[in-house]
């Protein structure tokens, strides 16, 4: 269970959001929507523990995540709007690095995003949508209870967005939580929406 208690975010002197509280039970999804600059990405970074909230706390199953950052890091997958790929490495090598961190099989994760045929190509020749899919393949590597997705569908074609459906569904069926910032509809049935 992920809980936000009274979160506040300051950017310089400006208050981006304040007094933000919500609770996400296991298996549920939360969609973050709002105008550019509303603080969606910032909120995701706070939930990941990469950014300390100016006020309030992020709580996982009763414990403040600031109490044990490595334990929190181990239970989440964070997809930022950058794909975290090295252009010089092949598709498989890029993913193998993350498989080395978390475990999981590279081949099946690539199949999950339909990149199996491109495994030996250097990542630099991929289109931006394919790069995004390779970043999404990290989600299919090894299970983690919390997925934080920042605009996961940027650059994806309709078929790829659809392919995301089963991935998200399996994650939630296993009790996983999804928090996604998005501008377009995601294949996330009965997700709650939080408008920032």
């Amino acid at each position: 269970m992920l809980e936000a208690r009274d979160l506040a975010c300051l950017r310089g002197e400006r208050v981006v959001f304040a007094g933000l509280s919500f609770t996400i039970p296991a298996g549920a999804a939360l969609l973050l929507t709002g105008a550019n600059g509303a603080g969606k990405s910032t909120l995701l970074r706070m939930l990941a523990g990469l950014l300390r909230p100016a006020e309030g706390a992020v709580v996982w199953s009763g414990t403040d995540i600031a109490a044990d950052p490595p334990a929190h890091a181990a239970r989440l997958r964070y997809l930022s709007h950058q794909d975290a790929l090295k252009p010089a490495l092949t598709v498989a090598e890029n993913l193998a690095f993350f498989a080395g961190l978390w475990g999981g099989a590279v081949g099946s994760a690539l199949e999950a995003v339909a990149l199996g045929g491109l495994a030996e190509l250097p990542a630099r020749v991929l289109s931006s949508g394919q790069k995004r899919r390779l970043a999404l393949a990290r989600l299919a590597l090894a299970p983690a209870p919390l997925w934080l997705l920042d605009e996961p569908t940027t650059g994806l074609d309709a078929a790829s967005v659809e392919r995301l459906g089963p991935l998200l569904e399996a994650h939630r069926a296993a009790g996983g939580i999804v928090v996604a910032a998005t501008h377009i509809p995601l294949p996330l049935p009965d997700a709650r929406e939080l408008r920032l």
Binding site: L50, A73, A84, L89, E93, G100, L101
Partner: protein
């Protein structure tokens, strides 16, 4: 430990894919060393007198070259966020980066040391001491440089700031390293100076990754 090995393996693999970066540092080292004969004249005694200091100045400057991209590249493409969430402690990330820098820059510089030493007319009996001293000094620079790279990450003109931070800290390495080579050239034992250099490395080995880890943020 698994994450450490994965990160180190990736650093080395990336360096092998971009051999130009390593090659640039090595060529820079050899070129700077070869400027001295032009500047001070080709008299063998003068050159041999200058050789230890010149060798060290050239090697440390060359080892600095790739440092500003040590964390910068990862910060730009989002990899740093993933590393910070990898479960590896921040000091562990810094240690892997420092070791990676030494393997991909320090070791190639050592391989090129005989070329530079020959151009500076360093007596052959001092080459062993020169290699040992440079191995320790480049290791120290990799460790100190990682701290500098973490501190200047995200700073405007970080590439200029970094040498200003790191080089003053490397002065002891130059003093003891050059002294070791001079001792060996004069037929004395370089061991005392090498041991002092080694002490510096052992001090930096635990402290530098901790300091770099503390400076490492993605904000």
């Amino acid at each position: 430990m698994r994450a450490f090995a994965a990160l180190l393996a990736r650093e080395i693999r990336l360096a092998l894919r971009h051999p130009a970066d390593t090659l640039a540092a090595v060529l820079f080292f050899v070129l700077v060393a070869s400027l001295f004969p032009f500047g001070v004249g080709p008299a063998p005694e003068t050159l041999a007198r200058l050789a230890p200091g010149a060798l060290f100045a050239a090697a440390l400057l060359a080892a600095l070259l790739p440092l500003d991209r040590l964390f910068g590249a990862d910060a730009e493409d989002g990899t740093l966020d993933q590393l910070l969430l990898s479960g590896l402690p921040r000091a562990g990330i810094a240690a892997a980066k420092a070791l990676g820098h030494w393997i991909t820059t320090g070791l190639p510089l050592l391989a090129a040391t005989p070329v530079a030493a020959a151009m500076l007319n360093l007596p052959v009996e001092a080459w062993g001491a020169a290699l040992a001293a440079l191995a320790l000094a480049t290791a120290l620079l990799s460790l100190l440089g990682t701290v500098g790279a973490a501190l200047t990450l995200g700073a405007r003109r970080g590439g200029v700031l970094l040498p200003l931070l790191v080089l003053p800290l490397a002065i002891p390495a130059v003093i003891f390293g050059a002294a070791a080579i001079e001792a060996a050239a004069a037929g004395l034992s370089p061991a005392p100076f090498l041991l002092l250099l080694g002490a510096g490395v052992s001090l930096a080995l635990p402290l530098a990754p901790l300091a770099a880890g503390a400076a490492l943020t993605s904000e």
